[in-house]
Subunit: 343 residues, 4 copies
């Protein structure tokens, strides 16, 4: 059965395997001090248009989030996150395991706004409560929505005002950067965030995220935190080589364009059959609301997750596309849906 | 310059890249539930001759150690380790960061014996002190020595007697299994340890360790701990495919044989020139003691670490060989040493 | 100004000071192994009608909660709490600081019910989410409400079914035990809870809570956890002597009766003037809803906390009575309210 | 039997009970914001001759150590301590439980010197090891020895040079301040330490230590850390009133003088009988080395701890005196020793 379950079901882009193969006979220093990782960091700085950031390569998203957030905060400080935030829901309490409370904020669309942050800070006003210290956002969000440049700038302003760190989880940042509704360039993130990461695992890599620390106050001793949390890869070259391959020729963006296109094609095809989306996504995850019996039909030929029960015997499902999603299978899905819908 | 610094300076074995390439177009489940990882676990069980273990693939050694040890212990329990143990010295307090004290024990050869363990337990006898709960050993040790079957069995007995978990860090387990002085088979570890890991990163893999949990009491919910510590790889197939490649045709052992052979050749060549070893190693790390001026000469053409200052202006250095160590460079090293020694 | 802010504004009951004074010249063992603490534990067991519990005296409520909960849970396990629960709101993330997520559940009256617990467990169904391991309730709740015997029994049943620990924070357990609407005896808590504590600090003691561990599985090594968290008092006699004084002659219950009576008198007096209560309290905290201008008048002569803004320019305030609340001040409060209300 | 086991075997000084009694009817704010605690802090500042410190009252020594150290350090930073340090040996891994490694340094007399600190920092030189961040000393040490002003100043200098926090555990600071060999005034500690505490529990109080934070960088948000660790006493007045009583009329120093005098009398009496001391103590703990059979005789009439086995069938024992040690019992002890020694 073909899977739309997620964007890490598929393998790695062949260019990456090729790069690993071509560099394989070269000896390299360990723990991210190899020339590949150093060059990859320089290349990313060029793409972001700044030298004033520190870049660290880490093998996965949860590990990146927990190393960064626990390094950045003092023990009594807490994280403000949308209630749908990945760290709040789907990381097995990884942040709390480092000692920090995550304060959930209910949102309509998975996005935090300045007033929500202000309110969370106002509510937590004295030493009997945790002190909000960091705002966690996902770009795009876990439900496919996107912060605009104006929205991200507004978060930056409120974080400056309230002395909060702004951290963006970019597990699918490629999808954000190449979305049709996007107005944020890579360089904007270095200006607006204190730290963020550029996700590789969900966009064609074997594994690997590039954490970018923009705020000078957060840079010191970061490699200590990585090592302490098991995030300093001995054969760090494997991460560096991948990011070189992804960014030397804009492969990273091309892969994300493909993933978005497949998802948008699915979305418009489903909408054309008269179905609504639970969330308005402009990225590589979409959330159609379908009747139960039709979902059951689709499950006979496709793998995907059910997201949430809706009224009237319908449910929202999640369909995720990747750089390697098969166009023919997108067409097959629409055809099957059409047939099942009796159209 | 050629490097004898470590066994992760080199790339990955080509068979592994080939396996990744050949499976690349197949969709797979995430987080270690893919068919490759499941098959790799089954294959390892076959190699160990038991089905009664749980196997988890994790991307690095420090991460494996910290997930396992923090999952196995209650908050007040401590780890007994040789003072040279990797977790005590070189993991940036990773175990303490999960809340557990590591109790260092001085040893002559990097190996713990039953009396040392008994003494540590006797000393920590009431609730004003931590309670020893786990014995951490490295096989081979950080200084190249090896536990024999009799020694490991004796540790098992004292751990049973004192109600301690016995955990073996097998970052270089391949080197142990194939050492000329080895008398322990892979299956013996499942009988004698509560848990141990089979290191891939230092023996030809891109990254990856196979944690084997033998004690039934330690198995429950282990994937929760992995996820919480950022150790559940989204594209888990990458780890499973590597271990399949390493164990399907005994590649793992063949690579370790090569690493050991290169190290033993270096060691005997150095000894033939009249130098002593700081530790008697039977594995892929050796520790010759050389005069300072000769070390300086060697450093002009080779990369390696200085280990410790000795008397009389000598120092011990560490030379590490890997599956891909160039035999010609081993010869070059001996030649240069000979020349520098004026022999 | 007279304070209705809380039940620890006042001093200690004179009987306790007398007991401290009378035993002052006796030498005693440290760390809770003194004869006073041992006798106090025995006395409490008699009052509870069981010998099958372990009792530990700890100096405060937050410390008791964090030692107990972190000792009882494995690292990946979480706590289910009402969103109004003290540990969720007012303990500065003390539980999260020990590594455990607290899952908030919205309630109408501060009380958890079986369905809420079942739902929280159902939602957290796999290793990408924390695993609920303990249910935290406060008896009485933070808003003055009370679990009945039927309700507590229903929680016990659902906890048994779902393999959860049931823990009751009894910071004000005296007020619960002596409430006019109470049907739970002290002994019932030992039958229905896995652990709970009998609060002294808010009922006449200098400081001190008696943690009662009922579930045998949770008893082992508990003093290690206490010491590790700084909760093993060197001069432990001070806690033991107080609990002896509180329970030898039922002083504990008499003090709570007085606190409840004062609060109920305030509540009925306020209701008689036509005001509503935000929550229906049967304990020593009450929550009248009053117009802003009247609150301002009351604040000129009394200290109390504002709880929450209501509609129509009203707010709920919190008034807390203690064992030593001055009856004349209760009357004064009602008189002033009457006057301010223009009745 | 009379106990020389420790200085918290005895009750509380009557002046303290009197102070608690006299203030008992006054309502006070909670959590250390009461007028007694505020006045006690002011009084201590006067005694130290500076206003530029923050003072917090905490109920015990282990709790004080763990709150302070975990608040002061970043996650990857470690503590340097003598191997005999209380936090290293006798606090059940309380510091490690907050995530920080404690690095033990062997010493002859329980005291750290600048070179030991320098060496520990030199050894821990890169991100694969913890980073020393704080030096923990006890004044007096756990074996009765004392840092002189010159020694403490030298520690200050090396801490300044190496960017380390200097923290002094003053569980028995009174004994240090009043020792015959002391040349440090209370005010000197504020100049030389970044933080230290003035122990009350072991010098006549019910319970209570006064943490003094001298370094401005360490002051911010400290009450959050206290609350998070369960160290913010609800009825904080109880701690403030005690410190007022201890320092208003120099009771604190007078009690320590008495404890030291009793210990010195014991020590000289034992030495007069020809016995050696294991450590040269100038404070209220002494460590005579006695033959086993004589120790057995003494144990028939006195309670004390054995410290360590010595050669020739002797052992060192520990005798501790307090403010209320009975002079007659000191005489009895010497008499019994004389008799047992057959002198």
């Amino acid at each position: 059965m073909y899977s739309f379950r997620n964007d890490y079901s598929d393998g790695v882009h062949p260019e990456i395997l090729k790069a690993l193969s071509e560099t394989n006979n070269i000896q390299a220093d360990g723990y991210g001090e190899d020339t590949f990782s150093l060059r990859a960091a320089e290349l990313l700085k060029t793409r972001m248009g700044t030298n004033d950031v520190d870049i660290h390569f880490i093998s996965g998203g949860t590990l990146t989030n927990l190393v960064a957030i626990s390094a950045f905060l003092r023990p009594h400080e807490a994280v403000i996150s949308a209630a749908t935030g990945h760290i709040y829901v789907h990381e097995t309490g990884a942040i709390e395991a480092t000692g920090h409370k995550v304060l959930p904020v209910n949102t309509a669309d998975g996005k935090l706004g300045p007033e929500m942050i202000r309110e969370a800070v106002t509510e937590h006003h004295f030493e009997h409560m945790v002190k909000p210290g960091l705002v966690y956002i996902s770009q795009p969000t876990e439900i496919g929505t996107l912060y605009s440049k104006a929205e991200l700038s507004a978060l930056r302003m409120v974080c400056d005002e309230l002395n909060l760190i702004l951290y963006a989880d970019g597990a699918r940042l490629g999808s954000a950067l190449t979305s049709h509704s996007n107005d944020l360039k890579l360089g904007n993130y270095t200006e607006l965030c204190d730290a963020f990461y550029i996700g590789g695992t969900k966009n064609g890599a074997l594994a690997g995220e590039a954490l970018v620390i923009c705020n000078n106050n957060l840079k010191q001793d970061f490699r200590y935190h990585m090592k302490q949390k098991g995030a300093l890869a001995a054969k760090g070259r494997v991460l560096g080589i991948q990011f070189l391959a992804l960014f030397e020729d804009n492969l990273y963006l091309r892969l994300a364009v493909a993933a978005n296109a497949a998802a948008m094609k699915l979305q418009s095809g489903i909408e054309a059959l008269g179905y609504k989306m639970k969330f308005v996504s402009a990225t590589n995850q979409i959330f159609p609301v379908l009747p139960e019996d039709i979902i059951t039909e689709l499950e006979k030929e496709f793998l995907f997750y059910r997201w949430e029960k809706e009224v009237n015997g319908s449910s929202a499902i999640r369909l995720v596309c990747s750089w390697s999603t098969d166009q023919a299978q997108v067409d097959n899905f629409i055809s099957l849906l059409k047939k099942a819908s009796g159209v």
